[in-house]
């Protein structure tokens, strides 16, 4: 499987993270990136606008 983004686009994404990756490390992550994309797609299935997250904000902080 291949990521949906090109390597040049991936370079930009890496720059945005600020991580000091070598070319080899970048290539390793690029090869695995499609698996993360697949997971991201799975959590982005349609939901009702009012679907709340699992975590609730509690004002009385402990």
């Amino acid at each position: 499987m291949k990521p949906s983004v090109r390597e040049t686009e991936f370079d930009v994404m890496v720059k945005q993270t600020g991580l000091p990756l070598s070319a080899e490390q970048k290539a390793t992550l690029y090869e695995a990136y499609w698996m993360l994309e697949a997971m991201i797609a799975l959590v982005n299935t349609p939901m009702l606008p009012e679907s709340e997250p699992a975590h609730m904000f509690i004002p009385e902080v402990r």
Binding site: G18, L21, A32, M35, I40, L42, M47
Partner: protein, 468 residues
């Protein structure tokens, strides 16, 4: 000593003054010296502390002041549990010289219960990155065959308990890190309900997915250890403020009348398990039915959906914790941890929030599915342990985890050994209960262990030593 004792057995003998905690500890230390050059379960052996703890326990017992069933029991802590004055590394170069000033809450509670601290145990780097060969300490190996993997991240605890170097130990479980090594090392490990056991003083990986819990040879031993860990702790923002039930009083009650569901699609189609794992689960269902439980099939969303949701949450939360070091000390991490972790930097805030929203719907689904079930049965691991050199870097992403659904939902889950596979290594099943129903979970696991008697066989290396 001619056999390796369980905690329950040792505890009874100590209470009857037929076994000295000093003798028991000396026996465990001898095993550490015999096996640990091969197994690498310990990052730090605290021999002097162990003997001092054992002598103190012996004094209490002889004076009639024993603290309870854990007094004088040799244990170890996963090296992400802070221990005051004792190095706590997370199995990472980044914390190679880290000496905490305070104990984690669970460390303090077990010490108050009288345990003997044998040392600090190997983990995958920061509870995520193994098995790594580029860290200051080697990865733990499987006592059933040291060429094989323990799973992780509570790898040292799995290896040390199975080989009898300790009788029990702490683990942590963010996506399966107690249940995985329990499964591959052939022991029992319970990930309690989120909030039951304090995470205070345990190095965090993912705030909303991390669980602390015990690992031991039997279900009964896990119940004894859990009893001494559980309870409200104001130092943990997620700690549940509710009474802790007695986990051992009804443990032998059996499963008659219990409703037990099984999620067959998880382990037959979503992530198919080995024939030995499958037959172990099917046999367990037969055992439960024979013991009087009602068995039925349960269907949930595909395992991949639970896995993706959990993975996105873990990666996002862990990246937030590690980002400062990733930016400044990237190459001080082991390759496996830093590469897996770096992917978290590509997750957008909206994806994290979507995962949290999806998490709620999956929690609702599981709650509805368990309305008619006391226990669910699934698999813990797909098969016996692979060779330690055959574990792929991206293995945890390639196939959906069988344990992740219950980190995501926070439900209590336990790995129980069902026997040995064709390669002579353990296979297992996973039992799940409703939130805060650990007593029911332990009851079911104990009923199974008592019915099948699988707890007599230890790894060959440990059996040979015990016979000497």
């Amino acid at each position: 000593m001619d056999q390796i004792l369980t905690i329950a057995e040792a505890s009874r003998l100590i209470a009857e003054k037929k076994l000295s905690p000093v003798e028991l500890t000396t026996d465990c230390l001898a095993r550490v010296k015999a096996y640990d050059d091969t197994l690498h379960a310990f990052i730090l052996l605290t021999e002097d502390r162990a003997m001092a703890d054992a002598r103190a326990a012996e004094t209490r017992v002889m004076a009639g002041n024993a603290k309870g069933p854990l007094d004088g029991i040799p244990i170890g802590h996963k090296d992400i549990y802070n221990t005051a004055g004792i190095r706590t590394t997370g199995h990472s170069r980044l914390l190679e010289h880290n000496v905490p000033t305070r104990d984690a809450t669970s460390v303090r509670k077990w010490a108050a219960a009288g345990v003997v601290l044998m040392g600090k145990l190997s983990t995958h780097e920061f509870a995520m990155g193994g098995p790594s060969f580029d860290l200051p300490w080697p990865p733990a190996r499987n006592p059933w065959n040291p060429e094989h993997f323990t799973s992780g991240s509570s790898s040292g605890t799995g290896a040390a308990v199975a080989s009898g170097m300790i009788l029990g130990g702490t683990g942590s479980d963010t996506g399966g890190s107690i249940r995985g090594p329990a499964a591959l090392c052939g022991i029992t490990g319970i990930k309690p309900t989120y909030g039951l056991v304090s995470r205070a003083g345990v190095l965090p990986l993912s705030f909303s997915m991390d669980h602390a819990g015990p690992m031991a040879w039997t279900v009964e031993d896990c119940a004894l250890l859990l009893q001494a860990m559980a309870g409200h702790d104001p130092a943990d923002p997620a700690s549940a403020d509710r009474p802790v039930p007695d986990f051992t009083s009804d443990i032998a009650k059996g499963v008659k009348g219990m409703r037990i569901g099984f999620v067959r699609h998880f382990f037959e189609t979503d992530n198919p398990v080995s024939p030995a794992t499958l037959s172990g689960i099917d046999h367990a269902l037969d055992v439960f039915e024979h013991l009087g439980a009602e068995i039925s099939e349960v269907k949930l969303s595909p395992l991949a959906e639970y896995h993706a949701c959990g993975w996105i949450i873990i990666s996002s939360e862990a990246y937030a914790i590690h980002e400062p070091w990733l930016k400044t000390r990237f190459n001080d991490y082991g390759e496996l941890f830093r590469d897996r972790m770096a992917l978290g930097g590509f997750i957008r805030a909206t994806d994290y929030v979507q995962a949290l929203r999806r998490r709620r719907t999956l929690c609702q689904e599981l709650k509805a599915a368990m309305a008619d079930c006391d226990i669910l049965v699934s698999a813990s691991q797909v098969s016996e342990a692979p060779k330690i050199t055959d574990v792929p870097k991206w293995g945890t992403m390639e196939k959906p985890s069988l344990t992740m659904p219950f980190n995501l939902t926070g439900y209590p889950a336990m790995s129980v050994c069902t026997g040995l596979g064709s390669g002579g290594l353990p296979v297992s099943m996973q039992l799940i209960a409703r939130p805060f129903a650990e007593a029911t979970l332990l009851q079911a696991g104990h009923a199974y262990e008592m019915a099948v008697g699988t707890r007599k066989r230890r790894p060959e290396m440990a059996m040979a030593e015990a016979a000497e």
